[in-house]
Symmetry: C2
Subunit: 191 residues, 2 copies
DNA sequence: TCGTTTATTTAACGTTCGTTAGTATAGTAC
DNA sequence: GTACTATACTAACGAACGTTAAATAAACGA
């Protein structure tokens, strides 16, 4: 940990602090203390507290969710979503905190207007992405659009349970719930 | 608004501030300014910032969710849940903010350990309550327990969308999604 | 070896925070 | 009318905040 460059270590510690105490509850002094450097070093690498926070959200968080969104479309659709959610259980501690922090900002916690707009753009892309994935399955069923919405809603709660609330969700429970929503449109479900 | 007693008005303004800026981002001075009273009046009615925050969560929030949890069990089960979620669209501004603040604390935002424990207790009661409501319907189906879990997960996202994200969810969309999860166990579903 | 850039420090600036001491006003009981 | 209590204020305390100025140490090409 100590051989990483200081800039990176500052960011890692900052993620933990913003997570535990929110933006206003986090102090540059406490970050510096945990990093083990002096206070102005934070300002040597980041021009302000706000810039440090923004870099975490804009780079770390959005890079992470973009990577997460790259689902392997080869699988059966229930497998695909099960793997996606289950994989969150094994995120590294750092990435989990980044993810959690992003969700907090998304839920209008501490960010500012600019970050909220970025989040809204991101949110708007979620439903179309899953609609595309599910399109082959829902073409011929009457409430296909509602199924997509329901699945996305279910996924969001499970993501929150794992990433934000730190709960472990077993693979078969995840699969069961996804199968309940997708029952009727996908072959290979459990029930 | 001005004829209410000062103690109540302080609490109402505090709810708005804690909501917008989090615990640490909220200042007693700003609350006093918005209330239109002097700063020490806050301390006349509340012994500290923390006590003010705690009263909002412990009394206002838990009173609200207990009231919300009193579902009218006469209806068809899909009607029951649809009405429950749809009704959240019409919460008063104040109660919506109280609800939102509670959810933020629940998602480990700004609170302390004691409040988090209260929240965990509350969370533990959710699943059993819905299991009891759904019991007549799931007795004879193999994945009944998973259906309960899935429904609760779906409800949580919808609550968040309405209360935290301030989205309006139309009644028929709510009903559609609930019916998808409960399809097969309840008569009277849409699809 | 010297000059320059990079990395790091101590010390402090001005501001704002939560909180309180001290005081004034208004109503009420006797 | 006087003592008392509830309600309100002005002013200030000490502490902590984000941020910066100034100085020092290390690294490195010339």
């Amino acid at each position: 940990m100590d051989d990483k460059d200081l800039r990176t270590r500052i960011k890692e510690v900052a993620v933990a602090h913003f997570n535990d105490n929110g933006y206003h509850g986090t102090t540059i002094r406490n970050i510096a203390k945990d990093v083990g450097c002096s206070l102005p070093m934070i300002y040597y690498y980041y021009s302000s507290k706000k810039e440090l926070f923004d870099e975490i959200i804009k780079k770390e968080f959005f890079d992470l969710v973009k990577r997460q969104a790259a689902l392997s479309k080869n699988d059966d659709v229930i497998d695909l979503y099960t793997k996606f959610i289950y994989g969150l259980n094994h995120l590294s501690d750092y990435h989990r905190k980044v993810y959690r922090l992003g969700i907090k900002v998304y839920l209008t916690f501490d960010g500012d207007e600019e970050l909220m707009n970025l989040m809204d753009e991101w949110e708007k892309g979620i439903l179309p992405r899953h609609r595309e994935i599910l399109q082959p399955y829902i073409q011929n069923i009457p409430n296909g659009e509602a199924v997509v919405r329901t699945l996305v809603h279910l996924l969001e709660t499970m993501i929150e349970k794992i990433v934000v609330k730190n709960h472990y969700l077993p693979k078969d429970e995840i699969r069961e719930e996804i199968a309940i929503v997708l029952q009727g449109i996908a072959r290979g479900g459990l029930s």
